[in-house]
Subunit: 444 residues, 2 copies
């Protein structure tokens, strides 16, 4: 059987009862983390601009923009919630491929939930299935694909289409069409790193996947071999990737269990370095003025993706391992405030950034790093980070995810509302109507 059909059949036939507890639990953690990111990002200027560009555009107030008072039509709510949840680069990461699993699937499902009642249980089921499909497709095209494209922009629409299609009750033929439409809409160039267009790519993935499923439900056709065809997704965007493995063991394992959450608001490959800097700062009471030289030894991918020496904006600084090391040493943390325009322009940060050197080492794992700091007085402090906080081997605790959420939502929502919203997210499985979460995110 062709791969697109096998995936479609799996989505159609999946039952919540058969999904293991570990997958459900990780899906809830993913949701909590993602809602926190969306609410936190809601006041970012990228979101302001995206809404302003839609202002003269005639949307009925149909679905919530998370963390804001504006409402948009369902398709554009999915787009803008995708933008806000990704704009800080603080959302979840599937480390094997650097896919951001939640943004396409959650933004599509939550937008739909305000037009069509979805129970928390059905939501969670569809969410897990959507993440499964996009992650497996991402695995197949990684690493051929990643140097050029944002894999969430290309594999993500499959996840959103599968999840929404599951809720809409598509049959196998319709699901094949939905996946085919998703295949032809994959887009997003890495050239956009450090600009608002990166978050647009991530928002489009959910919006396009949502419409793909809505179209297929009406009988709008696509190729039945969107994934495996000779001019299909795997051949073209996957550059000849072999997709035969995509369906192996479907329903036996769930990729959501490998999801990870970021303690820092920047490219995940810079995280082990930040851990090392924070540790050395705390252990030795380091002060920026005393530091002469910082040497980072990292996985080559870290230098490729976060190699910007002198970032020009907050968004660009997320792709600078130099900036990340500097702010971690100065502030002892690396949240969204450390990656603001103001932080980039801070003379103290700029001075310390200039003293950071980075070396790639093929022997390093992606979640590993060494940090070596030489002080003005000649003392040298070293730190070897085996696994970054937030990696699969050292996951963020539920409490840490809560604290991250609270920090992000502060200034957007009152403290009590934040607690209530977090509570709703953790108890998603019990909700009769998952749109309660969206409504609870609107500022008073």
């Amino acid at each position: 059987m062709h791969i697109t059909r096998r995936l479609a059949r799996f989505v159609v036939e999946s039952e919540f009862e058969h999904i293991p507890e570990a997958a459900r639990r990780e899906a809830v953690r993913s949701l909590v983390n993602w809602i926190g990111c969306a609410v936190g990002g809601a006041s970012h200027e990228a979101v302001e601009h995206a809404l302003a560009a839609l202002a003269d555009y005639g949307a009925l107030p149909q679905a919530t923009v998370l963390g804001r008072r504006e409402r948009l039509d369902m398709l554009h709510a999915a787009l803008v919630n995708g933008i806000s949840s990704h704009v800080y680069d603080f959302d979840d990461t599937y480390l094997r491929t650097l896919l951001h699993p939640s943004v396409p699937v959650a933004s599509a499902l939550l937008a739909l939930a305000e037009r069509r009642k979805i129970s928390g249980r059905d939501f969670l089921h569809a969410f897990i299935i959507g993440v499964e499909i996009e992650s497996r497709i991402a695995n197949a095209i990684y690493p051929n694909h990643n140097a050029d494209w944002y894999i969430t922009g290309t594999a993500g629409p499959f996840g959103a289409a599968a999840a929404v299609g599951k809720i809409l009750g598509l049959d196998e033929q319709q699901m094949i069409w939905a996946l085919g439409i998703a295949a032809t809409e994959g887009a997003g160039l890495r050239q956009m790193a450090g600009t608002m267009a990166k978050s647009l790519v991530h928002g489009r993935a959910g919006q396009n996947g949502l419409y793909a499923a809505l179209l297929a439900a009406q009988g709008f056709t696509s190729s039945e071999h969107g994934l495996e065809g000779p001019r299909g997704f795997a051949m073209v965007l996957g550059r000849g990737s072999d997709v035969r493995q995509v369906a192996e063991g479907l329903g036996e394992t769930y990729e959501i269990t490998l999801n990870s959450y970021k303690p820092y608001a920047c490219g995940v490959v810079a995280h082990p370095v930040i851990d090392g800097c924070i540790r050395l700062r705390a252990q030795h009471g380091l002060k920026a003025g005393d530091i002469r030289r910082i040497v980072l030894t990292v996985h080559p991918q870290a230098l490729k993706l976060t190699g910007i020496k002198s970032p020009a904006s907050g968004l660009e600084s997320k792709w600078s391992i130099y900036h990340s090391a500097a702010v971690a040493l100065i502030n002892g943390t690396a949240g969204e405030h450390e990656y603001s325009d103001a932080s980039v322009l801070d003379p103290a940060v700029a001075a310390l950034r200039g003293r950071v050197e980075a070396v790639a080492d093929e022997e390093m794992r992606q979640d590993e790093a060494r940090v070596s700091i030489t002080l003005a007085d000649g003392r040298v402090f070293d730190c070897h980070v085996e696994h970054a906080v937030g990696s699969v081997d050292l996951p963020m605790s539920d409490a840490a995810i809560d604290a991250k959420f609270t920090g992000l939502a502060k200034g957007i929502l009152p403290a009590e509302q934040i607690r209530c919203l977090i509570g709703l997210c953790w108890s998603v499985t019990a909700l009769e109507d998952v749109a309660e979460i969206s409504r609870a995110s609107v500022p008073p």
Copy 2:
């Protein structure tokens, strides 16, 4: 100066006065042809499905769906008008790259025109500039790109973004962002040939380009090197294409003057064969039952793109040179009715289709073909088509474009309204408000 900036500056600085008459004239012909296609395609089931999928979605009735009574918000009107105008594969073609120039640019501009008054003159100017930008980018990535992608889905957003940006009065920086956003949204796999998803790809190009310009106008940033950057459009989607030539002679020549219009509702590479069949049928009074064998000798691209032997649907039959030859011999024409599901299933058509053979010949030009027909009685008739009707060397006359429009719009609009709408299109330059055209396309 980087290419993206050079293009942006050209768009910003262009003045209507400097555009030669030949370009203006061809732009008007393009518009007439395109409106006819959009009105004609308005009742296609792909459009019905696309509208049904949006029905529960909360759009304010802001802009016209050409040839229909429904109204949608501006962004989705651009999408659906893009779908309808392309669904018959009857719209214009820029033969050098097989780009369909009008669909992204015209659908974006006309949708905008119902939110913001645009004079016919400004419309025509923006249209010509948009076509210029997308055609030049298409030239740069052709042919590396075309085997896998629909070039209108990838280069088209640049054209729509440039045209809309011109109307919105973007400055150079904003125009660079608009082109950058367009760069990262390019998508559309050739795997979708023969399905409704092909027209979706073409509709998205205009919708995405429109929003790209609206975003950039608000300060939404993108890479400033969307086209030429190391992970930009030319490197990734153009597979390392050299874009240095893109801006050469900008403003001296206009690619719109090379636009062509289809007399037949199928892939343009099949057109010379259809000409030959129609000619032989008329010359010798051929009847399908008397024909034993048909041999087509064509450019290799014709076999690659229209090589489907036994199409399963009307949309698929547009990619069958065998079907095209059969209907041309049976009906003496190859309009949208010859590529319907009914025509595909017609036993007489199927029988004749099975008697067609096709051979690729490297020596042939793309608009050239030989047709050789052997009758049951042993007689053989040959025809050599030097240039297909509708090619640059044998363009459709204004009258032929009018007749095509009338044929397409029949059944959608009353005869008098069709005449009035055609008249409005031809006199576009004199219109104070180009939205008059859209309004005049709505059935009574």
